[in-house]
Symmetry: C3
Subunit: 310 residues, 3 copies
């Protein structure tokens, strides 16, 4: 196939073929990232702008570094606290920055759907780096890449996603990606954190962590945020949550011998995952981070190529 999308907005709209195409492109950039000189001239003279309307360190740095390794110029525009109510401002800002001759905008925004709104209003390429509680496609792509790298395949594996499914863009994007590529997906957590509609996405719901540990080939532990910005607290107490869902070494020992552990970071050590598991031999956490570079290099190069050709 040939890549024809100008934007990477979410995994819901991608076909399995497109997802696999990205993962294969990422393979070649993974090789580049092992060289002493990690730079390729793919995007010399192109400009990539990170527009981050939510605080972020790791995703921001990962995209910046990916852009630099493609030899693009990078610019950073960040303005935390801007909400959907100020969506107009986001578009005005974007149109101005686009007028300066930008090739790709990488957008993180607190409002679900913001990247689609942006893509409809600019002619450069748009990459979604996380929109509200909706999608975080490059995180899911690097998770898929990491599973495929560690296990050789995705189809047929059972992958558990554990935590606050209801509010997690990482969970949503992973569910789309994993089911499209043929994995069995189990969402795991207390009733209050799993929305009823999730079963329509083709996943199994599980409220028993020990059952999930026994069934799964991979466990993706979401970060638990006990303090929510909207003041509501859908969580049981931290103590109760840990007792029921925390991935401890003891719990992990009851799973399959080749069970693998993932986490999108930053890790709350001792809350959703114990330190010895996070740093242990079954953990893929740092490989996820490393693979994020390769996946984002692939995505940026692909969308920049489409933008340039049109």
């Amino acid at each position: 196939m040939q890549w024809t999308r100008r934007h990477l907005l979410g995994l819901e709209e991608l076909s399995a073929e497109e997802i696999n195409f990205i993962l294969e492109r990422a393979d070649s950039f993974k090789e580049v990232c092992t060289r002493p000189n990690k730079k390729v001239p793919a995007l010399v003279g192109r400009t990539i702008v990170n527009m981050f309307f939510e605080n972020s360190t790791r995703t921001n740095i990962s995209f910046q570094l990916a852009a630099r390794r493609l030899s693009a110029d990078t610019l950073m525009f960040s303005k935390a606290g801007t909400s959907i109510a100020k969506g107009e401002t986001m578009l005005d800002t974007a149109r101005n920055i686009e007028a300066m001759g930008v090739d790709v905008m990488v957008l993180r925004h607190g409002a679900s759907g913001a990247p689609w709104k942006l893509a409809a209003n600019v002619s450069c390429a748009v990459v979604n780096a996380g929109d509200g509680q909706h999608e975080h496609p490059t995180q899911a792509l690097l998770d898929l890449y990491t599973i495929r790298e560690a296990r050789g395949r995705i189809a047929g594996l059972t992958v558990g996603i554990v935590g606050d499914i209801a509010h997690s863009r990482v969970a949503r994007s992973n569910i789309w990606g994993l089911t499209k590529l043929g994995a069995r997906v189990m969402v795991v957590g207390p009733t209050t954190l799993i929305p009823r509609e999730v079963e329509k996405m083709g996943v199994e719901v599980c409220h028993d962590m020990d059952h999930a540990v026994r069934e799964c080939d991979v466990l993706n532990m979401l970060r638990i945020q006990f303090e929510r910005q909207d003041g509501t607290n859908p969580f049981p107490s931290i103590r109760e949550y840990k007792q029921m869902f925390s991935l401890t070494a003891e719990r992990l020992a009851r799973g399959k011998p080749d069970l693998l552990v993932m986490h999108p970071g930053p890790v709350n050590r001792g809350i959703e995952i114990s330190p010895e598991v996070a740093d242990g031999p079954k953990s893929l956490i740092l490989r996820q981070v490393a693979n994020g570079l390769a996946v984002r290099m692939a995505v940026l190069q692909m969308v920049a190529g489409v933008a340039a050709a049109s």
Copy 2:
């Protein structure tokens, strides 16, 4: 002619010949900015520092991007809130940064005259990116460039500058540039926002927006800031201001068929200009932003060249 100035501080001190020289240089960079690879090796190994003592996003990004496209290394130093009282600190900081081997300093400062003070104390080149209520020469240059590009000439045109003339560095720099290049300039606004001395700069004063719309070939709508930092409020009410001076589609329809609309940004949509005018076919707003890159590339290359030769 040959460019011999080490600094670009204000348009008041430039001759018409010098202004035209910059605009012609900008033409070649405008062409560069239309290429897929927008980078030229003009300033490889040179260092350009943005020293911003006032908050700014667009001007900052525009200068940074211009410097990168010339292949210079860029550094950002920002410290909002520093006032004229701390002028000594600005010079100390600047001398230290200069000692690191900097070629050009781009200064934005809340104190009128700060760039001249800086230029007198460092041996690198200084570019004024806005000083107090005094000058903003690159904004005026990109405005001139945009008018010339759209209408083929500047001499003989009637250009209206509408809004808070008294406190606007954009207005001052535009007045110097436009009058030097032979335009007829009309400043438009309520009595409280137009200083009496402005007529000495060779402009006509107009308090009737409808008259200005009929007379002008170009209207440059200044951004209205209803909340001033000094707590004073020289404005009538927003409602009254809008009724008298806002550029609406209805008002615009009464102007010449080829009347063009400009705005230095960011736009207060619905205040000084209505959204349909800002985004309409007569608006040059995004072309101003695009041309800003070319003009700033020209300026940076010219002053860096003089600094290197001396």
Copy 3:
């Protein structure tokens, strides 16, 4: 000799031979820094991250610029206010950033020993840009370089370090470096600011500034911070301190004719040093800043080379 250290953590652990080796390498970069094009391709495709957990402008800019002149890509991660209590967070952040393929981390941290802790937990190179009240090795190296450049040698010179010796990492690193290279070191200040143990480092203690001025070939005036973060105030009054220890023109006139004055910056003009001395002919302050670039280029290139070879 061949440089074999992967990290530059402090001068206490370096031999005189190693220190001289760095100073000699810096000579060649000093020459590079005088060229119009100050860029060398030494670290193309390498990534250097500034991790600054304390506010800093000058050291940060100096390291960034040094990295760029070596053609490395630079990333900035800053988070002021993080204390030793959150050391775990620093390591987690560092491991994540390392996983992205970073070659050198430049760390500034409020906790003494943080760079050693970091170096023990990552496989990339670590450079200490100041840790608590412990060491600031590149500052001392640039001070040594500047003395050697101005006087042709270090051995046999008498160097006075004046101010808050007890809390100064600049003082500690300078003491290690100067004594290893054979200088006679005199620490000068009020009793409350000179720890008793300092004599074990091989220095003389002096509480009489006029005596120090007469004896010394070089005076390194530390920045006095009258407001300490921990709320304690070990200082006499400002007025009293100035009277006893400030380096005024009058005091300076009583010293040797070739007495040289240094200061790590930023200068409190009129407190520890008078403006006419700071800007006068005996001042090496701006040469220190300039030499900082050359010294940091040398250090970054050396540690990156070791990291790449292993």
